[in-house]
Structures are given as structure tokens and as C-alpha cells.
């Protein structure tokens, strides 16, 4: 996000004379960030619909629950330790300290945060927390229809502290990637590459679904997929424009780019679909919207609207072909977390270094110049940050899954997987008529006659 603002803060911290000009608390900024925080939170249930529609009916609740459960477990972990480890000013270049543990010292004043802010510190903490929640939920798409639910809850909670927090620190909390000058406006590296690589590793560790490659596994509710994509886009305005941390010109350019980039991706994707199969597909367009949003995320406040259109269009290609390749491979990254978020995130991070510019639409709202504006080195810095994120996220996810696997089995039994994860993991079904259901009283004795006659 705002590395320069952070550097200014560092100067204050280092005791530079007369720089202690804390910005004023702003009612306008606070109003926007209150809304933006709610918008980003909506993205997690939106993701539940997006993912839930893509799986088979018998595992649809389980898939949606994997996102919903992040709202609780990751949200609580964030308040207890995650926020402090990610974004406390203390610690070192790699991890924050525990000064904000259990939210101690996080006040309603705009003071104490790792960067100068114009909104209450607590609100800023909440806004950042919604990012951590959706990132953990994104990984679930790679392990649906086979991972045991308790194992997933444990994994995602640990992951939010051990993988998300350090990466957020490096990029946004004044860590070593920020020092190097890597730019990530709203989370291309921290959120999308991170989730994409973790998903890839998790799919490899878990192994493919029993039916994968043996029979067609089709989306059970495509309208849910479209609903999810629509709500994700809506929430993403808070995600990207909120990452300006105020109701500013920077927020406005991020907002406009969040409108334009996915629009361009949608057009490019539709034309690719049309050329390849002669038909434009609904699941394809829903995917295109998400990919476009992922691609523009790291660049949202750093590029011009024209560049956003170009980035969206260009960004369609790597993900489109990664999806095609994946579906024919043996890799059961079931809902394409890697092709969508990993590949899209990397494309966006690199293109941020290409298209970044300080002056956008006549105002200096950007923070750096990229390749086209005459600073080719930025591309290399972006690529380095991508590499670090890939390595850290991949290795740590592998280690965490092995750790969780040593405590409790990661995979559901073959029988549970065949029955469907809704009944086997939750004792509920998405679509039940209630026929044949006998009410069980507290005494444990069935009441009334069964709906069927036993032979």
C-alpha cells in the first residue's frame, strides 16, 4: 500500500526533528472506511456462493461453510494476535511484535498504527482484518469435497497467523519487501498470490478427489456462481478503493479501475470463449470478473484508467490458459485457486511494475513510476516480491498441513467423500425434502411413525 507514508512514519520514529505532524482524524475518511470494511466482509459470504455453486450438490454446504467459518476463526485470531503480528510498528522487518495482542492499545484515536492514518485505529484494524478473513477462505477452493472440516478449521486458523501475518508485515507493515520498494495497493501479493500458492500446495498435499478424472464433476448451481461473482465485485470496491484508507482522489482512481479492469477481462474472456468453442459461457464470465479483479488489485491506485483496461484485457490470457491446462492435468485444484488467484495475482503484480505512474489523470496520486513511465527496474522489484511470496507461502503451507495432518487426518474417508461432505461433515443437506425424516426427541426416542413402511 503506502510505502512512502510508512517511510515518513519511520522518520518520525527515528526521532527526526519536527516531523511529528500526525494527520487529523477525518470524518469523511472514517465514513468511507466504515462502509468499505463492511463491503470487504461481504466478499467472504460472496465467495461462499461463488465456490458453493461450482461444486456438486452433495458437498455444496460444506464448500460454503469453509468460507463462512473463516469469518469466525480467522476473525478471532486476527483480533487476538494476527493484527499485532502483521501491522504493529514494533518487532523487526519480518514479523511484528505482540504489543496489540488482544487489541490492547488499539484505540479510537488515529494514533499508534504502523502508518499515519486519518481514521480510528480500531477501524483500521477491522478493515485489515476483513482482508485476512477472505484470504484464508480463498484457499478452500483447492481442497473442496475431500478435506475434513475440523482439519480445515485448524489449518486456516494457524495459516492466518503463520503465513498471512508475516507476508502482510513484509509488504504493508514496513517489512523488508516494502523497504525494497515493492508495491501492492490492495493485496495482489499478500492476498491473491498467497492464497493461490497455498491452494496449489494444499491440493497437492491432499491429493485429488476420488472421482476426479474418472467422471465429470459439474457445477451444481451456476446461478449461485454468478451471484457470488456479482457480490464479490461489489465488495471489491471496498477492498480496492478502501485501500486508499480514506475518501480521497486515490480512492476514486482505485474505484474506477476496479470498475474498468474486470470489464475488460470480461470482454477478452468472452472473445476467447467464443473463438475457442463458439459459445460464451456463464461460468467463464463469472471467472473472468474475479480474475480481472485479482489482476487490478495490486495496481488499483497506481495506474491510469486506460492502463486498468489494458491490464484487465491482458490479465485474461494467462489465467484462461492456466485454467484450460489445469482441467486436463492431474492437478485437482478443484476450483482453480491457483489459476485464478495465483496466476492472476502474479500477472497483476508484474503489470503493476509496468503500468505504474505517479501522475494519474492530471493529479499526482500514484507513488512510483513503472516501466512505461521510464523505470524498468520496478518490474524486477515486483518480480522479486512475487518470488518471495511464492516461496514463503508454498513452504509454510506445506509445513502447516503436515503439522495439522499429524494431529488429525486431513482427508475424509472414501466412504464419506462418496456420500458427500454435507451429510458426512455437517449432518445437514443443502436440498432436503424432509421425506423420511423422523423427529428425534431429547430422550432419544423417535416420535411418530416413520414416513415409510419398513419391509
Amino acid at each position: 500500500m503506502k510505502n512512502l507514508r510508512w517511510l515518513g512514519m519511520l522518520a518520525v520514529g527515528a526521532g527526526s526533528v519536527g516531523l511529528a505532524q500526525e494527520p487529523e482524524l477525518s470524518a469523511a475518511d472514517t465514513a468511507w472506511m466504515l462502509v468499505a470494511t463492511g463491503l470487504v466482509l461481504l466478499m467472504t459470504p460472496a465467495l461462499a456462493f461463488f465456490y458453493g455453486g461450482l461444486v456438486r450438490a452433495k458437498s455444496s454446504l460444506n464448500t460454503m461453510m469453509m468460507s463462512f467459518v473463516a469469518l469466525g476463526f480467522v476473525g478471532v485470531a486476527w483480533a487476538l494476535v494476527g493484527y499485532s503480528l502483521s501491522l504493529s510498528p514494533g518487532g523487526n522487518n519480518f514479523i511484528g511484535d505482540l504489543r496489540f495482542g488482544f487489541l490492547s492499545g488499539v484505540s479510537l484515536e488515529n494514533k499508534g498504527a504502523v502508518v499515519p492514518i486519518t481514521i480510528p485505529h480500531l477501524l483500521w484494524m477491522a478493515f485489515q482484518g476483513t482482508f485476512c478473513v477472505i484470504t484464508a477462505a480463498l484457499i478452500s477452493g483447492a481442497v473442496v469435497e475431500r478435506m475434513r472440516f475440523p482439519a480445515f478449521m485448524l489449518f486456516m486458523t494457524l495459516w492466518s497467523v503463520a503465513v498471512y501475518a508475516p507476508l502482510a508485515k513484509w509488504v504493508w507493515g514496513g517489512g523488508f519487501l516494502a523497504d525494497l520498494g515493492a508495491w501492492d495497493f490492495a493485496g495482489g501479493t499478500v492476498v491473491h498470490i498467497n492464497a493461490g500458492i497455498s491452494g496449489l500446495v494444499a491440493a497437492l498435499v491432499l491429493g485429488a478427489r476420488k472421482d476426479f478424472g474418472r467422471q465429470a464433476i459439474l457445477p451444481h448451481n451456476v446461478p449461485f456462481v454468478l451471484l457470488g461473482a456479482a457480490l464479490l465485485w461489489f465488495g471489491w470496491f471496498g477492498f480496492n478503493a478502501g485501500s486508499a484508507w480514506g475518501a480521497s482522489q486515490s480512492a476514486s482512481i482505485a474505484f474506477v479501475n476496479t470498475l474498468l479492469a474486470p470489464a475488460a477481462t470480461l470482454v477478452a474472456w468472452a472473445l476467447l470463449d467464443l473463438t475457442r468453442t463458439g459459445k460464451v459461457t456463464a461460468v467463464g464470465l463469472a471467472t473472468a470478473i474475479v480474475v480481472g479483479l485479482v489482476v487490478i488489485t495490486p495496481a488499483a491506485g497506481y495506474v491510469s484508467p486506460t492502463s486498468a483496461l489494458l491490464m484487465g484485457a491482458i490479465g485474461a490470457f494467462p489465467s484462461y490458459f492456466a485454467l484450460l491446462w489445469r482441467a486436463r492435468s492431474k492437478l485437482d485444484d478443484s476450483l482453480d485457486v491457483f489459476a485464478g488467484h495465483g496466476v492472476g495475482g502474479m500477472t497483476g503484480a508484474i503489470l503493476t511494475g509496468v503500468f505504474g505512474q505517479k501522475v494519474i489523470a492530471g493529479v499526482e496520486v500514484g507513488y512510483f513510476d513503472g516501466l512505461i513511465a521510464g523505470n524498468p527496474q520496478q518490474v524486477l522489484i515486483q518480480a522479486f516480491a512475487v518470488l518471495i511470496a511464492v516461496l514463503y507461502s508454498g513452504l509454510m503451507t506445506f509445513g502447516l498441513l503436515k503439522l495439522v495432518g499429524a494431529v488429525t487426518p486431513l482427508r475424509a474417508s472414501a466412504k464419506d467423500e462418496a456420500t458427500g461432505m454435507d451429510v458426512s461433515q455437517h449432518g445437514e443437506e443443502s436440498y432436503t425434502s424432509g421425506e423420511g425424516a423422523i423427529l428425534v426427541l431429547e430422550s432419544g426416542e423417535p416420535r411418530g411413525a416413520p414416513a415409510t413402511v419398513k419391509g
Binding site: 449432518g427 443437506e429 425424516a437 423427529l439 415409510t452
Partner: protein
């Protein structure tokens, strides 16, 4: 001619279809049904309401075959649908009085012999 009716687990439908295809059994009808075959009741809870599901999702195959095809058809279903757990289903073989193919008016064995 016989009518082979088989009740199998939904997750085994693809295996059964594949086995039937290999046994060169072509014409068939399937429907989603609910039934109870002595398997353990599965318990579900919705907020405070706990229920035992007496009925389980099953899929019913109906296959009209000539006499020589009865054994291969039954064998194919039996091997493909079996898991060894209670609830694998049943196969019923029923006598058939008359069969007509609507398109051509063919009768009996000719009507259940696949085209070309």
C-alpha cells in the same frame, strides 16, 4: 424378455453405466428415488431439530433386455455397484409380457435389440 430393475447408490451410477456400456447393454432408463434397505439411519440436526433420515437417496435403473442379456446385465451391475457395505441396493429381474418400440412398431426381442 426381462425387465431388470436395479436400485443402486447414487455415487455408483457412473460405474454402473460404464460397466453396462462394456457389457454392450444400451437401452436404459434411470430415475432418482428414495429408499430404505436396512442401512444405519443417518442423523441430521438443523438448529434444535434433530432427525433421523430413514430414507436414503438411491438411483433406479430400468433395463429391458432379451433373455440372453439378463446374466451379463446383472453381472455388470453387481460388480460395479458393490461396496460391501449395507445399502448397496437390489437387483430385480421381472418377466415382461410385451415390448413395443414406438418409432418402428417392432415387438418383443426386436424391440429391445439395439439399433445397428
Amino acid at each position: 424378455m426381462k425387465l431388470v430393475v436395479a436400485i443402486v447408490r447414487p455415487e455408483k451410477v457412473n460405474d454402473v453405466l460404464e460397466a453396462l456400456y462394456k457389457a454392450e447393454v444400451r437401452g436404459l432408463t434411470i430415475s432418482r428415488v428414495q429408499g430404505h434397505g436396512g442401512e444405519t439411519d443417518e442423523v441430521q440436526t438443523y438448529r434444535g431439530t434433530t432427525v433421523k433420515m430413514e430414507l436414503h437417496e438411491k438411483v433406479r435403473f430400468e433395463i429391458g433386455v432379451s433373455d440372453s442379456f439378463v446374466a451379463p446385465t446383472v453381472r455388470a451391475i453387481m460388480s460395479a455397484a458393490r461396496t460391501g457395505e449395507v445399502g448397496d441396493g437390489k437387483i430385480f429381474v421381472l418377466p415382461v409380457e410385451k415390448v413395443y418400440r414406438i418409432r418402428t412398431g417392432e415387438e418383443d426381442t426386436a424391440a429391445v435389440t439395439p439399433v445397428g
